[in-house]
Symmetry: C2
Subunit: 193 residues, 2 copies
């Protein structure tokens, strides 16, 4: 998505540790008008897939999921993160390892909001190593629902989350794939350019 | 808002501890179409106040804020929660005591996304004792921005957050005020009925 790449180049801040901060429009301040365009991109790509539910994870996936759901005219469910270890029969639950914090956390979704009849589009703002996404896929599998595809705003192409999902045959649409972040020269390279 | 009250009565689950769970449409699964109606209510009430930014707090305030921002045609900022204690010159930061978890946490907003020219509408899904809202007001004050008002989906009228805000002269719109939750009889009483 050309407009997204331009926005990343214009507003993104490159930080040490392969970080590109886009909190001016995506995950702290949210540019609602632009988010609608992102939602529309996901809709145009997945509109023939009978999506009836969008699954995301708190917090920064929520605005993206919301914008997309307005086009799909469906509900969203946002998985909750927590340190809860005890299993509950009311929830589908999955372990996720956070590389940032170097510890496990749980994502969970109440069973009543995901079932075998659902055709689920999973949406998130970032895809890096794919740990959170694996957790969400695991939850959808537990619910015996169908994963129609995954929609990501920014994929870090130099980490292997995207590759692993594609190898699994997941229909993954990343609106921008960052292949290289050059802190010294403050440059970003996108895939396909 | 009559339609909201009906939805609470229809879908809300009353639990011990004065809890009314509305995670079928508000804070786990999100009914996007209904959320737009909520956004429109806030817009109709605050539309003459020159709102240029909507402030909320992660996670469940985000869908409400997003829906409202589509009507106001403005950006949203969602304050982040964390246990970080160290002050940072890049953030406005405020302590909030969580009665649920019986401990302090921090809410923070990057300074670049809130400034003295902003006319801020603060939005959240629930208002109970008002601790989170006090934290957000404090942050807006630190930024020397103007609080135009607060928009709440469900106020727990039997806790004193709403009263305290009104006494301060804050223009508070709560779309439904729950005055009593009767677990034994599974009944909810709304203010003004």
């Amino acid at each position: 998505m050309q407009e997204l790449k331009e926005k990343i180049l214009k507003e993104g801040k490159i930080k040490p540790g392969n970080i590109v901060k886009v909190d001016s429009f995506l995950n702290h301040q949210v540019d609602v008008e632009f988010m609608r365009k992102i939602g529309e991109e996901f809709y145009n790509y997945f509109k023939d897939k009978d999506v009836n539910k969008i699954l995301t994870i708190e917090s920064s996936g929520i605005p993206v999921a919301f914008a997309a759901a307005e086009y799909f005219k469906c509900k969203i469910v946002f998985a909750k993160k927590g340190e809860t270890i005890n299993q509950s029969s009311d929830f589908y639950q999955s372990d996720v390892f956070s590389y940032t914090y170097q510890r496990n956390y749980h994502v969970r979704v109440a069973k009543e909001y995901l079932n075998e009849n659902d055709k689920v589009l999973i949406i998130d703002d970032f895809l890096a190593n794919g740990a959170a996404m694996e957790g969400l896929l695991n939850i959808v599998n537990q619910a015996k629902a169908k994963v129609v595809g995954c929609g990501i705003v920014i994929e870090k192409g130099f980490q292997d989350g995207g590759r692993k999902l594609r190898e699994k045959g997941i229909n993954l649409l990343s609106l921008a794939i960052v292949d290289k972040i050059d802190v010294d020269n403050q440059k970003i390279e996108f895939r396909g350019e």
